[in-house]
Amino acid sequence: MSQLDELYREVILDHYRNPRKRGSLKGPHVHAEGNNPSCGDEFALDVAVEDGLIIDAAMQGQGCSISQASGSMMMDAIVGKSIDEARDLTHKFKVMMTIVDGDSPVDPERPGAVLGDLEALQGVRRFPVRIKCADLAWTTLSEALDRATDGDR
């Protein structure tokens, strides 16, 4: 597989073209926005939290296949998880993308076991300028979660 085919895997293009949970939430939720001014990617999301659990989420914005697919996969991954689990996932994702240091969360023996579809984004690491595309959704999520737990602190 060429580096490009590695980057633009089937599953990524599918999430890009059919993003999960696009739209906005009606009920109580927190909202956060992020953008990459240099490339024009914009990302925003609503997160509904109840008793420390992410009960629903929705994403808005526009951007390249990587930023959109990363956001869409993230939506799939976080709904139903606790805030702590979502934060842990964010950390694992950023380690996988070499954005933060740490031991790789990806088990080569059992592909997809830890991060599911998200592991398809590994190909991005070969394209350093695109890493920030993959990261945008997660940085925005962190802000939303901080906001959701602001009252707790």
Partner: protein, 408 residues
């Protein structure tokens, strides 16, 4: 096709490989590559004559001063101007900020209007927004025709005595459309407004003579015309420069410094506080020498032919839409496009794997992106060193992008 092909040998970077392919550099609207003569001029300056200017009675300092002021004469005469009205700045952005702060702060007020176009680069918008905020003025926008040129048909509607500045670019760095210099110039004069021409994309690509275009100020950058980074020029009519306040204080721009107050040096030095970009001026002069030797008419012709070919070849690609004039006499060699549902950023990545450098993004023109209702565009931009085969490679690579994105 006019053949400047042999010039490619003057640009060392063009023989470099990128991702296993020979570099195809189609990003000259962002910055241009440099011929050896420009690099050598700067190197020679540093190895033989490097000194601070204007301040000394020793030989090196005198040589450096003559080279710096000699560069001013060359850059000035390249645009048909006098050296005394040609200010070296850090680039177009700094030049326009000089105008906005130095002229605008004192001459604009509540209710005044600054007429711009929706196609402006942030460099010709944000400074005016800042001055508008300080003075109570507001920005008024002209929009575009179906062919992406500035729509001046409803000029009457926005043109009145409240318009104090008309600021627009000579060529859009997104659509490639040439600015309606004559129409906007006449309109501005009819209400006594100041005319500011952002010539960052104009001066590098065609002959420009300030005695022939009726503008008050003009700004451009060396790095977009074969010269180094770190320098550009602000040209202004003598009266306008006189009435403009300096926007930086420091050495070299003063006449007399007392404890509480100072007086300023004559134009252009009034606007050049501190140690100027000396080596950069030397490189800038070498760049205009190079361009002059090739001939700006030849460059304009070459780009027109190349653009004609590119528009033709791009039209063969299904689902490809060009954001820019179809008529090559209304445009320069900067071609923005979108391809099916492939995001411009993805296009740039795919092309880069073939060694082709194009830009993707909002090109520092976010209001235009919003107006065009696109998140971003991909942009290929040509200069004198580009050749038709590079257009062919671009087309092949775009076809490959379709394949990768599974578009039949």
């Amino acid at each position: 096709m006019s053949d400047l092909r042999s010039l490619r040998a003057d640009f060392p970077i063009l023989s470099r490989e990128v991702n296993g392919h020979k570099l195809v550099y189609l990003d000259s609207a962002a910055t241009t590559q440099k011929p050896v003569s420009v690099l050598d001029a700067m190197d020679r300056y540093y190895r033989n004559s490097n000194a601070n200017v204007h301040r000394g009675a020793h030989t090196l300092s005198n040589e450096a001063t003559e080279m710096y002021e000699g560069a001013r004469v060359k850059v000035a005469s390249f645009i048909g101007a006098q050296a005394a009205q040609t200010v070296f700045t850090r680039g177009t952005t700094t030049a326009i900020n000089h105008i906005a702060y130095g002229w605008g702060l004192d001459h604009l007020g509540e209710g005044d209007r600054i007429l711009v176009t929706i196609a402006e680069h942030h460099a010709n918008l944000v400074p005016w927004q800042i001055i508008a905020r300080h003075t109570g003025a507001e920005l008024v926008y002209l929009e575009l025709t179906d062919d992406y040129t500035v729509d001046t048909s409803d000029l009457e509607a926005v043109l009145d005595e409240r318009v104090k500045v008309v600021a627009f670019s000579g060529m859009s760095n997104v659509t490639g459309a040439l600015g309606p210099i004559d129409v906007l110039g006449k309109a501005a004069r009819s209400v006594g407004a100041l005319i500011v021409l952002d010539a960052a994309q104009l001066v590098p690509h065609s002959p420009v003579d300030v005695t022939e275009v009726d503008v008050d100020f003009m700004a451009f950058s060396a790095h977009k015309m074969l010269g180094p980074t770190g320098i550009g020029a602000l040209w202004g009519k003598a009266e306008r420069l006189e009435e403009m306040e300096p926007t930086e204080g420091g050495g070299e721009m003063i006449n007399m410094v007392e404890r509480q107050t100072s007086t300023w040096a004559p134009v252009p030095h009034k606007f050049e506080a501190g140690t100027p970009p000396i080596a950069e001026a030397v490189g800038f002069a070498a760049a205009v020498d190079y361009l002059t030797a090739v001939g700006m008419e030849n460059i304009a012709l070459h780009e027109q032919e190349l653009t004609t070919y590119a528009l033709e070849r791009l039209s063969e690609i299904p689902d490809l839409k060009v954001y820019g004039p179809k008529d090559v006499t209304h445009r320069g060699g900067t071609v923005s496009f979108e391809l099916a549902d492939i995001h411009p950023h993805d296009i740039a990545t795919i092309l880069d794997q073939d060694g082709i450098a194009v830009r993707a993004g909002h090109h520092c023109a976010r209001p235009l992106m919003k107006y065009l209702d696109v998140p971003a565009t991909a942009r290929a931009s040509f200069y004198l060193y580009n050749v038709p085969e590079e257009v062919d490679l671009l087309v092949d690579s775009l076809m490959n992008a379709r394949r990768i994105f599974g578009i039949a």
